[in-house]
């Protein structure tokens, strides 16, 4: 009998130990004495994309006396981890999520309705409408815009005197600059949504919405990029490049120009101090719009530490804090009252570009990844030799099905 009792105790201890090990995940901070948890995908404290966020939160901790536990989850794993945690009732206090995911996360019940807090706060009018729109779902507010980003043309001033202002100029200038192992333009074209940004920007310029690939503007955009590959203006390798790879092409002089976001401004300044470069707004045709890139601060649905979470969110949105934080982070404000944005000429160009930003509406936002993935597939097919109208038709069918418009 004693053996049975001893074995039962051992087994119970093992099970309890296992359970104990499993419960150490991100918590909403049920007890005020526990640190407030913040999940983000920018980077860890040692990374240039992560450090400014940690510094910003450290300033809050110092001022408020609140302990904050920041958890970095790489972007590719972020939504999966957040979803799983929410399903297990163990989500974070604050989740920094992509602006385009906000409506879907709200609909699924991953994040909290913040309408009441926003009403009391009263600063919603300070935000650019495109950014604020991304926080809305079913007439309620589910987040606060954290920052914004835009795409623009980086150009090597040792090779290019003035950046092209139209896509016709872009094609001819990039072709003229190519040769001797160098391409005129670099842009990400890698499989998936990330590689569709260049095509989406080209479509917007041609007057087509990113959901309208099978249209004259969509065909024109595909044919434009194919012409650039055929002339050597754009390396065929762009289909394997992510945005970091495109930056590396530009930084090493393998590309004379690149279309990329403001993320790389400080990185280029620090890692390639001898590189001579500047930035210009995107070439224009019917429009010169950029894709908006933005993130929102949200509060996890399972968090019972809403007050502290809201306090940190509003701290992070103070214009004087953003004035320090955004230049370090290479990003742009999502609100119009942040001083200093125009002082840096490079950041001023991105801010100017942000005035012409396209973002998906609430109906399209949850399907953005699928739509952009279909666009990239059409791009890849066109570069491989499929006639642009055929590639566009196949992609359009996928897009229509995703949007329920077929």
């Amino acid at each position: 009998m004693r053996t049975v009792v001893r074995a039962s105790l051992v087994a119970a201890a093992a099970v309890l130990a296992a359970a104990g090990c499993a419960s150490g995940g991100g918590t909403g901070g049920g007890e005020p004495s526990e640190p407030l948890s913040v999940w983000q995908f920018y980077g860890d404290e040692s990374m240039p994309t992560g450090k400014p966020f940690y510094d910003l939160v450290a300033r809050y901790e110092q001022q408020s006396g609140t302990d904050v536990d920041i958890r970095f989850i790489p972007y590719d794993d972020f939504n999966r981890t957040l979803t799983q945690a929410a399903a297990a009732g163990d989500g974070p206090g604050i989740a920094l999520i992509s602006a385009f995911d906000t409506a879907a996360m709200a609909d699924a019940g991953v994040i909290q309705d913040l309408s009441a807090q926003v009403q009391d706060w009263g600063q919603q009018g300070a935000y650019f409408p495109t950014n604020w729109e991304s926080t809305q779902a079913d007439g309620k507010t589910y987040g606060i815009p954290h920052l914004a980003d835009a795409y623009a043309v980086y150009y090597n001033t040792a090779m290019v005197q003035q950046a092209p202002t139209t896509w016709t100029e872009m094609e001819s200038t990039a072709a003229a600059l190519s040769g001797e192992g160098r391409s005129g333009l670099a842009v990400s074209g890698i499989e998936g949504a990330e590689g569709a940004t260049g095509l989406a920007i080209r479509m917007l310029a041609a007057g087509a919405q990113p959901t309208e690939i099978d249209s004259p503007g969509g065909h024109a955009a595909l044919e434009s990029l194919r012409r650039m590959v055929q002339s050597g203006a754009l390396s065929e390798g762009f289909l394997t490049w992510n945005e970091e790879d495109a930056k590396n092409q530009f930084a090493t002089g393998q590309a004379a120009m690149m279309i990329n976001s403001a993320t790389y401004v400080n990185i280029l300044r620090e890692e390639n101090p001898d590189l001579q470069w500047s930035v210009a707004v995107l070439p224009s045709e019917a429009t010169g719009q950029t894709m908006l890139s933005a993130e929102n601060l949200t509060i996890g649905a399972t968090s019972d530490d809403t007050d502290r979470a809201w306090d940190l969110i509003t701290f992070m949105q103070r214009p004087e804090e953003l004035q320090v934080y955004l230049p370090e982070r290479n990003k742009l404000p999502a609100r119009s009252d942040v001083p200093g944005t125009a002082e840096d000429p490079v950041r001023a160009v991105f801010a100017q570009q942000l005035q012409q930003a396209w973002a998906p509406d609430a109906a399209l936002a949850p399907h953005t990844t699928e739509v952009l993935t279909a666009l990239q597939a059409a791009l890849q097919q066109t570069i491989s030799g499929t006639p642009a109208p055929d590639a566009a038709r196949a992609a359009q069918a996928t897009i229509d099905e995703a949007l329920g418009t077929s």
Binding site: V15, A18, G237, L239, T240, S384
Partner: protein
């Protein structure tokens, strides 16, 4: 163990007195309780996710249902939807091409290495240890090494080919459908081959030397010895290696994702990547579950076939 005991002892074991029986029952219960943590662990980490995933294939599950529950039971509708899609069959076909290519290349490479390393020569252990690095290296490192090797602008392969005058300009191996598929197969086989080598070295060491001696006396050439002695003797190990590599390759996600993300144009979008895309990019957890269920069934059927043939062989 009791077979070698004296008859009387056996009889005592078979007909224990009531106090002994009670003690044994208590002992058995104690043994079973010691198993409980392992059983619970397996139930939580294997059985529950497996059943949960298979059940999702029969429900209408999006992001909302994952969080809030209340998924509607739709029977085989998800299977009908997926089996009616060219993308699904394309992913399954690519998975089979990728898997069979990897198995063949791994087996041939592993066997060649095993034949080399079963012999004694100077530096053998060092070389074998270096080769094992490919198996030991984290996938993220191995895949990025291959990305760099195959890069069109800076890659070592292109530099060598240019040096030999075989190509002119950049060749983007991962940017074209056919070469990209071959590249991921080669990269996967490169990482699996040392594992196959270890198993086959053990197999080769088990082949009796007298078989070769007899073959040599009969005048068999080196090729004939390999063809008629080595290969038949290695058959059980070969089948095991191929089955294991098939299962490893069929479920491989990381190498392909890191090298191509399933591209270009879906040319390397195998079933695991297809399932990942459906679930975590498009948030269609139900159709992703159909893909993972198929991913479960294919190696399962193959394993059953293998074990049956093994039993038949043993019986013969």
């Amino acid at each position: 163990m009791t077979v070698i005991e004296a008859k009387g002892a056996l009889e005592r074991t078979r007909t224990p007195s009531p106090p002994h029986r009670a003690r044994r029952r208590a002992g058995n219960r104690a043994d079973q309780l010691f198993l409980l943590p392992a059983v619970l662990f397996a139930a939580v980490t294997v059985v529950y996710p497996l059943v949960y995933s298979v059940l999702q294939a029969f429900q209408d599950v999006g992001l909302r249902e994952v969080i809030r529950g209340g998924a509607e039971w739709v029977g085989f509708a998800n299977f009908a939807d997926q089996f009616g899609r060219a993308e699904f069959w394309q992913a399954l076909w690519l998975s089979l091409v990728y898997t069979v290519g990897t198995v063949v290349l791994t087996y041939v490479g592993g066997l060649a290495l095993a034949l080399l390393f079963v012999r004694e020569f100077a530096g053998r252990n060092v070389m074998r240890a270096l080769l094992m690095l490919a198996w030991i290296l984290p996938t993220v490192v191995g895949a990025n090494v291959w990305r760099w090797l195959l890069d069109g602008s800076y890659g070592l392969l292109n530099a060598v080919l240019r040096g030999l005058g075989l190509i002119d300009g950049d060749l983007f191996w991962l940017g074209q459908p056919g070469p990209a598929l071959v590249s991921v197969i080669v990269a996967t086989a490169w990482s699996f081959a040392p594992f196959a080598m270890i198993l086959m070295v053990a197999g080769l060491q088990g082949v009796p030397a007298m078989l070769y001696e007899a073959a040599r006396i009969d005048g068999a050439s080196a090729w004939q010895q390999f063809r008629h002695v080595t290969l038949p003797a290695l058959r059980p190990v070969s089948v095991t290696v191929m089955l294991l590599i098939f299962i490893f390759a069929f479920k491989t996600f990381d190498t392909i994702y890191l090298m191509t993300r399933g591209g270009p144009g879906g040319a390397t979008l195998t079933l695991p990547l297809y399932a990942f895309q459906e679930a975590f990019e498009f948030r269609r957890y139900d159709t992703a579950a159909v893909a993972t269920t198929v991913m479960l069934l294919v190696p399962l059927v193959l394993s059953i076939f293998y074990f049956r043939s093994l039993r038949r062989e043993e019986a013969a």
